[in-house]
Each structure stands twice: as structure tokens, then as C-alpha cells.
Amino acid sequence: MEGTGVVGAQGGAFAGPTSGGAVAWRRFRRDRVAVSALLGLALIVLACFAGEPLLAAILGHGPDEPFVTAVNPVTHESVSFWTHVSTGDGRTLFVLGGDGPLGRDELLRLLAGGRVSLELALVATVLALFVGVVFGTAAGYFGGAVDAVISRLTQLFMSFPLLLLVIALGQTAAQRFANVTLHGLFQQGVLALAVVIGLFSWFYPARVTRALVVSLREQEFVEAARMVGARDRRIIRRELLPHLTGPLIAWGTLVAAGVIVLEASLSVLNFGVRLGTASWGTLLAQAWGTLLNYNPNELGGGFGAAPSALQKAAPSVALFLTVLCLALVGDGIRSALDPRSDRR
């Protein structure tokens, strides 16, 4: 190799794409815990979004249809799991799962509730990430007054008790938008609640984005881009954002996990999704009672069945599994992106 002769590239033995994303994916694949969590998550999403409509079509009834005959008005006992029930107009149907106070199909309600909770989490997370990244990038890149204002804003909001704020906002502003359902894509009130929660979840992504951008902004390749004549917008888009996509996915899973739990807490407090709509939080409220009305038997107007053990446990287990899978996947992504970590 003399002077200006042609020089070969290193790493010749390794075939295949070597972009940051491809390498991270390969590392992620080797992490068995994370992969199984990802599969679990996929299963949950599939069950809720595809399984529920499928099941409803097979069984011939939806999650919200009440079967009054399924509940014994005297003993307040409901039919057990997997029963034929005859309805008033002479149909007999399978009912999967136990019955709630109104005599509805609890398994379908669990799945439909999962759909509501997950949709809410998705919308809120996307909103939180978007706002967080925009603010964080602006604060980190431009510094000075912009940074001061955004950082103070972030700290101000972070110092308030989140639950109180969301409740307050949820009860006032969200009511006005409760009827926005995007042509029935969402249940009533869900979109409004998702927006409210999203607007209070952007702090963590914002802070982390800002820290990342501040550390990147001083790198020589940014200076090199400026040297060549790139404008700020181009520098942010081409030089900085590619560094953010991986961490964004990792933070997204964690924000989503937090949002799901927050929604459940709010619904149990009766400040979240309306009790009529199935979501994991409202199912919990039905089974355990809400803050305002502790006796779950009263919820259905007093003639419903007492909640069975399965009804009490099912939404909790579903929540637990979803949050666990999200957290493990998020953790796995973070480890995969960090070349220094080594989890065997």
C-alpha cells in the first residue's frame, strides 16, 4: 500500500447490510427474552384487533350485547364459562367467558377492551413522542432562549402531580371533544382522553431527545455539514434525526406502557373512559368498583351478577402481561442499540 494506491475496506468477512438498524436488529434477534416479549405483544395485539371481530362474527354476538337471561335475578349468579344461552327472541348462542352485571360476554369484552386500551396507548404515545421530539430537538439544537423556555416549561409540568392535571383536563376540555370518534374508529371519549394523556406524557422523550441532540450537535460531522453549506433544517433532518429513530422506538414502548397503566388508573377512578365502554380499566372498575362507587353490584343498576374471580383477575392479568411485554421489548431495543451492553 503506497502513497495514493487503492486501499481496501476492512471487515471483508462479514456479508450483509451493516447499517445501524440492521446491526441492532441482529443483536435484538439474539436476545431471547426480548424476542419472546415481542411475540407476546404481537399475540396480544392480534387477539384484540383481529381475534375479537373474528370471534364476534363466529359467535354471532358482539361484546356489548346484553343477555338478560344469562343472569339469575334471584341468586345474582351468572352462567359459567362457555354456555348456551337462550335470548328473548328465541336464539340460542354460545357465550364465552363469564358474565358481567349486565350479562354480557366477558371474553369478548376483554378483547374489545384490549383494543380500546391499545388504541388509546398508540395515539397517546405517538402524540407524546411527536411533541417530545419536536420540543427536545428545538431546545437541544438552538439552545439559548428557546432552550430556556422549553426546559422551564418541561420542568414546570413535570413538577405537577400528573394524575390531578389529567383528571382536571379530562373532565373539562375532554368533555367537549368526547364526541370525536373519527367515523367510529374510536369509541366515544377515547380519542379525547388519548390526546389529553399524550399531552402530558411528552416530558421524558423531550428531555432525552434534548440531551441526545446536545451531545450530537458538537460533533464534527455537524460542523462539517455546516461547512459544506447545509441549512439548519437539513442538518436536523439528515444528520440528527437518524440517530433518534432507534431510541425513539425504545422510549415509545416505555411511554406506551405508562399510558396503559395511566388509563387503567383513571378508569378505575371513574375519570377515564366511560364505564359503558369496555377497556381494561373499566373492566377493572366493574369487577372491583370505582372510587366513587365501591360496591360493584350497584353498577349494573343493582340486578347484575356478582363479579366472578375470573372477571376480577382477567383485566389485571391482561394489563400485567401487556406492560411486561412492552417493558421487555423496550429494554431489549435499548440493549440492542447500545454496542457496549452485553446481556447473555
Partner: protein
């Protein structure tokens, strides 16, 4: 406009950074990064800027390229005053002056391919046929055109620096500022990169400003050398003149530190003390606290101007070296032995 053959002219350039002291910022301290620097760079030559870390060389380079705004003074490029141009006005000029950065590991975006990195200048300035040009450039700097789709982490330090050179060459600039381009490389690779730079200068008619702290590297590539200390130019002259008879004591200390193959020859001068903080530079001559030729009452009272002391060689010193190598007495004083503290006598002739 450019009749005098100077590509770059720096005129009493000064750059001070504000340093906030304490929470309430009572009285701001200033870092005197660059102080009253006047330099010219002629077309087609290589000007070397030499000095310790923190002496202001990189800041001077960035002022030259308008990556920083000067506190005072003027910068002229190709006869045109660019000191106060806005970033938008500067954008077309960015095609004519470029920079090669010091750290081959952080000067290339790890998330972009080589093709994207070297092709970015074409995209930014709206030129087509980027890919073909990029592959030509890769060949010019000694890389294979197949490396277009590879990522920086797959290359060694020397190869990455070649990518940086390719990026700098993309738009056919007139001036390339090389900010310590070989400092992070092995000695053998250094030679390759320096050869590459020399070849490119001939082929593309480039003008270089080459910054380094390593005199042995500068010697190989620079036609003229500027020696900087604490933000000021203390000596400026032809490469040969400076190596054969340095005039400023600081230059002498730097030269003595260059390893030499022969066993005989000059002793290494170890200057006593540390470089003073640029927040509080010494009054008058900034080198006087460590200078072996210090004359009390003169050097600490009157700042020396950069004066021409020999053909094509200027130094900022009241008592420049008369001979090279230095006398034993001078060396001892430089290393901290009791200084003669010679008083300044009016009318004494000091040799030029």
C-alpha cells in the same frame, strides 16, 4: 480584486469568548482565543500554523472560514471582505473554501453511508450526477468506488480521513483548511495522507492552510509557517528560514522538541512553567514569564510588534535570537534557572 495574489487576508483578527462566572455573573471574564492576528495566504501555497493545544490555531482557521464570527478585525477571501456576510450570503462561498477535520471518527456521521457523506455537498448545492462524481472522488483519494455504500465504521482511521478529503474536494474549492488532519493517525499512515494532500494540491491547484502541533509534520508540507502562542502570531516566515534560524524564543523551544536522528546537536529545551490561561494573558509580551531572553521593564511593559527581522521572516520579539542553536546560558534560563533579569537600557541596540 485579487491582483496581489493573496487568496486569504486576515487583518488584526480578534476573537474573544465570554465566560460566565458564577450564578450571578458578576463581571464577565473573556477568553482571548485569538488576538490581533494578521496573516496572508498566497494562492497555491501551503501556510502552516503551528502551536500548542489551545493556542488559537483552530479558532483562527474557523474564523477564516466564517464558521465563527470575529470579535474584531477583517477577513478577506479572494479580495472580498467576508467578515460581516450573513450565513445565506456565505453559502455560495462555501463551495470555494472547505475544511478537513481532525478526528476521523467523529467527523463522519456514523448513520450515513460514504456515498451520502461525500455526495452531500452536491445535493446541498443542487448539482446533479452526484453519484458519478462521488465515485470519481473516491478513486482520486485512493479508495475504491465500491465503497459507496459502506458505513464509516467499516474503515480504518486513514481511510476515513481520505473520505474526509474526498468530501472537501467535492465542489472544487480553492482553499482547503486542514485542521490537524493527521494528528489522530499512525506515523506511517500520516505519510500516506500527506503524500495524498501534496498530490492533490498539484493536480487541483489548491491552496492549503495546514494546522498542526507537530513541527516535523508541518515541515513536510508547509511553504510558510506561522507560529502561534496564546492567540498571537509570534513568528511568521518561510519554512526553511524558520527551521534554520528561528528568531523567537518560543519557536526555538518548539524546534528543540522535534526528535532528531543525529545524536549530536542541540539539547532539548524544556520551558519552565505552564502556558498561562487565555482568560488572563500576561501583559505586554505574552511569552515574557517563560522567556529566556526576558528584559525586565521592557518585555513586560511594551508589547512587541511582528516585525520583519530577516528576508521573508518576521517575529514579535524585542530581543530575538541572535544565533541558533541557543547558548547554554539561554537554555538554562529557559528551563527556570534564575533569570538574569536584564534591565532595559535606553538606547541599547538589540540585534535584529
Amino acid at each position: 480584486m485579487n491582483a496581489n495574489g493573496n487568496l486569504v487576508e486576515l487583518d488584526h483578527l480578534t476573537k474573544r469568548f465570554q465566560v460566565k462566572q458564577g450564578v450571578f455573573a458578576r463581571g464577565k471574564a473573556e477568553v482571548h482565543a485569538v488576538e490581533d492576528v494578521s496573516l496572508t495566504v498566497r494562492r497555491g501555497e501551503t501556510l502552516g500554523i503551528v502551536g500548542e493545544s489551545g493556542c488559537g490555531k483552530s479558532t483562527t482557521a474557523r474564523l477564516m472560514l466564517r464558521l465563527l464570527d470575529a470579535t474584531a478585525g477583517k477577513v478577506r477571501f479572494d479580495g472580498r471582505d467576508i467578515t460581516t456576510l450573513s450565513q445565506r450570503q456565505l453559502r455560495p462561498l462555501r463551495r470555494e473554501m472547505q475544511m478537513i477535520f481532525q478526528d476521523p471518527y467523529s467527523s463522519l456521521n456514523p448513520r450515513k453511508t460514504v456515498g451520502q457523506i461525500v455526495g452531500a455537498p452536491f445535493v446541498i448545492h443542487g448539482q446533479k450526477k452526484g453519484k458519478v462524481r462521488v465515485q470519481e472522488l473516491l478513486e482520486t483519494v485512493g479508495l475504491s468506488p465500491e465503497h459507496y455504500n459502506r458505513y464509516p465504521h467499516e474503515f480504518s482511521g486513514g481511510q476515513r480521513q481520505r473520505i474526509g478529503v474526498a468530501r472537501a474536494l467535492a465542489l472544487n474549492p480553492k482553499l482547503i483548511v486542514c485542521d490537524e488532519p493527521v494528528s489522530a493517525l499512525d506515523v506511517s499512515i500520516q505519510a500516506q495522507i500527506l503524500n495524498l494532500l501534496r498530490t492533490l494540491q498539484k493536480d487541483f491547484d489548491l491552496t492549503y492552510v495546514f494546522i498542526s502541533h507537530d513541527l516535523s509534520v508541518i515541515r513536510q508540507i508547509a511553504d510558510r509557517i506561522a507560529v502561534m502562542y496564546l492567540g498571537r502570531v509570534v513568528e511568521l516566515g518561510d519554512s526553511e528560514s524558520i527551521y534554520e534560524h528561528p528568531k523567537h524564543p518560543y519557536t526555538a523551544a518548539l524546534l528543540s522538541a522535534v526528535p532528531r536522528a543525529s545524536t549530536g546537536g542541540r539539547e532539548r529545551i524544556v520551558l519552565s512553567g505552564d502556558v498561562p490561561s487565555p482568560v488572563a494573558p500576561p501583559p505586554a509580551c505574552v511569552f515574557h514569564p517563560r522567556c529566556p531572553r526576558f528584559h525586565k521593564g521592557h518585555c513586560d511593559v511594551e508589547a512587541p510588534e511582528l516585525r520583519e527581522l530577516a528576508p521573508r521572516q518576521a517575529a514579535a520579539c524585542h530581543y530575538p535570537l541572535e544565533r541558533w542553536p541557543m547558548t547554554d546560558e539561554e537554555i538554562r534560563q529557559a528551563e527556570g534557572a534564575e533569570r538574569a533579569d536584564r534591565p532595559h537600557l535606553e538606547g541599547t541596540v538589540h540585534e535584529a
